[in-house]
Amino acid sequence: MPQLVPGWEEKASVLSTEEGFLLSRIDGETSWAGLRAVSGVASERVDECLERWLQDGAVTLAALGRPVRDDPAGGGIDPSLDLSAEFQERILAFERGLDRPYHVLLGVSQDADAREVKRAYFRLSKDFHPDRYFGRELGHFGPRLDRIFKKIALAYELLQDPSTRAELARSLAGQPRGASNAGSSEKRRWLERMRRQFQIPEEILAERKFRARQLCESALVAGHQKRWKEAAACIRLAIAFDPWTEAYKESFGDIQVEVNRQRAEELLSEADGAWDARSRSEALALYDEVLHYRPADAEAHGRAAQLALELEDFERALEYAERACELSPESASHHFTRGRVLRRRGMRKKAIEAFDAARRLDPEDPRAQEEIRKLRQRSERTPGGNS
């Protein structure tokens, strides 16, 4: 049976919601398998967390040992495989995010139409379908590709169907992040039943609620001082200790946005101007999440557009840039970014229009003027070329 070691708080300080929830379930009486069953967290994640806490010394194992792991694959980047290191990174990063809401997984907005959903699915299929890597030495990435494709195919299936889609939207609206894995309702019902079986005694419950209130207060203080990460960790723990108070979940969303934004900016400054694809794509993923909570945030859209542009994901870049311009039509920089994306996509006329808008909004900045000059020059060189 896993049990907490005194002083564990310092050793397992930065926790996600599910980690926090899991941690709160460690009472020295629930077995490892029991934790897998009651925590509502994927078995692999339970294993992963417990292993880590064991190593960090936050948790010890009493009596019963650990169960056999479901997925012995493990492993990270392996240069001997028939896949580029960048793509291996991408697979690992994408797989880590497999439990994100389905539309985030496909990289479309929540109100994307059927055609957009399909195009996103086709695009991701061309990256992740196992047939694209047929006969290659894939090591542990083979099963990962398989899992990823199945998940995006499921996302596509559910989002294509208006009725399941409406249900997904409802469940997303009513639940905090992380619990959006709306896979099977049977499973959820089963978990509910399991939780009821593992009923928590009154006095422990009261203590938990008290602990949660304290944590929430600390979160507010930290947030006030813009120590967002700390604030997020506290509020996560608060939710873990007291998943019944909805207010905690609401403030969590707000804090998470700031954490993501901060982390993304950190990543970008760490990259130190060098072209570091990995931190950029991580930053983009973080902005993706920010946009999930702040769909009307023009600045975040603009940042995401720039990142996508730098990563040469023009389709996404264009989506973000257009949204940014829509949300904040008076901002020259959004129009400028949009112009750059359009130029890279070879849509010259539209690019010139966008740069023109940027120039009008900010006549001081010579960059837009320069871009227009270059584009016009090129069109003279290739007469008859259109759009």
């Binding site: 069953a37 169960p67 086709f122 379908h129 196992p130 047939d131 398989d146």
Partner: protein, 523 residues
């Protein structure tokens, strides 16, 4: 890496294609034909004949000439389809050791995968002679509605023929791939594939270099052969009315009739009327009799109209599955030699309200698609991705004899689905998971793919334990099933190794036996 060939192993004709100089080409056989009859015979003097050579002597050697064996592959001897073939075929069909149908000609007995292997070997040889190099990898097509056993038998046949089968591909999907390659537009197409022995319909969506199969349907026992049989039957009746002689038990006469009927059917695609002349078809006390009948296109159309109409039932089911109406289909592509028949084209055009596309050769497009998929899998040259579906539902038998589908037909593969089941008796400690494939709600009507037992369920009242059964199909079509007791997390799983009608050892042994037909390697 050597080149991958694509083989369309048809009921009546087979075809092989390869990518050469960046383009798919259909390889002609030494006789110069791009398709080869799927026929195998042992001549009077004991020689093995394949293709045109077998067809040419079929009349004089009817009982020792095998045709349309694809209609038997992977079936049980007791099935309705085999029973019908036994009635109609001049060669003898006997029960094999594994309850599979086997074909006896010239004192030898062949399993169906073996016959298929002989035909595949011939196609392999055609390719090797043409290319001047050894070929080992192949993509082989099967009707979309073939079940797992039929697919595995085809795979086994490839192995016996010395081929490494990279993928078993659905025929209409292959046709869609051949049609869709290089087309940048987004469109939905219907592939109507009426071949010699099988009918398939697939609704496919193209766009962004992806070919996505939306739904597929069909009938593995409906094709040109059935049309021939209708005409044979008509000719038999006419002749009996004229001459009072029943030719049904005369193998040679039947073979001649079948041949003549097939030819008359083809003629009637271009002409309004044709003659069937079969001199000396019978003999009786009053001397030799000659069959001399004329057949009108209209007569033929009346004889077969209901068979063709039957295909439209599959079409509408398929559209339903794809959640589309006929108006959503941008193009109809006709595949299979039988679609040359004006009646077929007319009914299809009427159904869809648009003229079918005529850009592809109906006999060759499937092999072309197969070699494209071979190239897609093994090279970076062809940038297209095929998203295919599983044509039949997969599920388990429930205690009351029903079938619970976990992966419904037309699910894109690879796919994983799970469902929670429970026990039906108090204190039940084990459950048997029977993995099945098919569309009937009754378990008994579907095919059993495999079974296993999940035990050590802790004692509980019936209905309380919760057993999660998960089905998984990977990109190669391999099915694995696991069952997990959610309370104890104890788990049992199997990989449903699709079983053909032959064991692995039998396939190995036949492979060694058939290796002698390998072409000698040029030095």
């Amino acid at each position: 890496m050597s080149r991958v060939i694509g083989i369309d192993l048809g009921t009546t004709n087979s075809c092989v294609a390869v990518i050469d100089g960046g383009k798919p080409i259909v390889i002609p056989n030494p006789g110069g034909y791009k398709t080869t009859p799927s026929m195998f015979a042992i001549s009077q003097d004991g020689k093995r004949l394949v293709g045109h050579l077998a067809k040419r002597q079929a009349i004089t050697n009817a009982t020792n000439t095998i045709f349309a064996s694809k209609r038997l592959i992977g079936r049980r001897f007791d099935s309705e389809e085999v029973r019908r073939s036994v009635e109609l075929c001049p060669y003898s069909i006997v029960r094999g050791e594994n309850d599979d149908p086997r074909i006896g000609i010239s004192d030898k007995t062949f399993t169906c995968p073996e016959i298929a292997a002989i035909l595949l070997r011939d196609m392999k040889n055609v390719a090797e002679e043409y290319l001047g190099e050894k070929v080992s990898d192949a993509v082989i097509t099967v009707p979309a509605h073939f079940n797992d056993t039929q697919r595995q038998c085809t795979k086994d046949a490839g192995k016996i023929a010395g081929l490494n089968v990279l993928r078993i591909l659905n025929e209409p999907t292959a046709a869609a791939l051949a049609y869709g390659i290089g087309r940048e537009v987004e469109e939905k197409i219907a592939v109507y594939d009426l071949g010699g022995g099988t009918f398939d319909i697939s609704i496919v969506e193209l766009g962004e270099g992806v070919v996505e199969v939306l739904a597929t349907n069909g009938n593995t026992f409906l094709g040109g052969e059935d049309l021939d049989l209708r005409l044979v039957d008509h000719l038999l009746k006419e002749f009996e009315a004229q001459e009072g002689i029943d030719l049904r038990h005369d193998a040679m006469a039947l073979q001649r009739l079948k041949d003549a009927a097939e030819k008359a059917k083809c003629d009637l695609s271009a002409m309004q009327t044709t003659e069937v002349n079969l001199p000396f078809i019978a003999n009786d006390a009053s001397g030799p009799r000659h069959l001399n009948l004329s057949v009108e296109r209209e007569t033929l159309e009346e004889l077969v109209r209901d068979v063709v109409e039957q295909t439209l039932g599959c079409v509408s089911q398929c559209l339903d599955d794809a959640q589309l109406g006929v108006e959503d289909v941008d193009h109809v592509v006709l595949v299979g030699g039988q679609t040359r028949m004006p009646l077929v084209q007319k009914l299809v055009a009427e159904y869809f309200g648009k003229r079918p596309h005529r850009g592809v050769s109906p006999d060759e497009v499937v092999a072309v698609g197969a070699c494209i998929q071979g190239s897609v899998l093994t090279t970076d040259e062809t940038d297209v991705l095929l998203l295919d579906v599983t044509p039949l539902s997969l599920g388990i038998a429930t205690f009351d004899g029903h079938f619970a589908a976990l992966i419904p037909r037309n699910s894109t593969v690879p796919v994983m689905k799970s469902h929670v089941f429970t026990t039906t008796r108090d204190e039940q400690s084990a459950v048997k998971i029977r993995v099945m494939q098919g569309e009937s709600t009754l378990a008994a009507d579907n095919d059993l793919l495999g079974e296993f037992i999940l035990n050590s369920i802790p004692p509980a009242r019936k209905g309380e334990p919760e057993i999660e059964v998960a089905f998984d199909i990977d990109a190669n079509g391999i099915v694995s099933v696991s069952a997990r007791d959610l309370a104890t997390q104890s788990e049992q799983s199997i990989t449903v190794s699709a079983r053909g009608t032959l064991s692995e050892e039998e396939v190995e042994a036949l492979g060694r036996e058939h290796a002698e037909f390998e072409l000698p390697e040029e030095k």
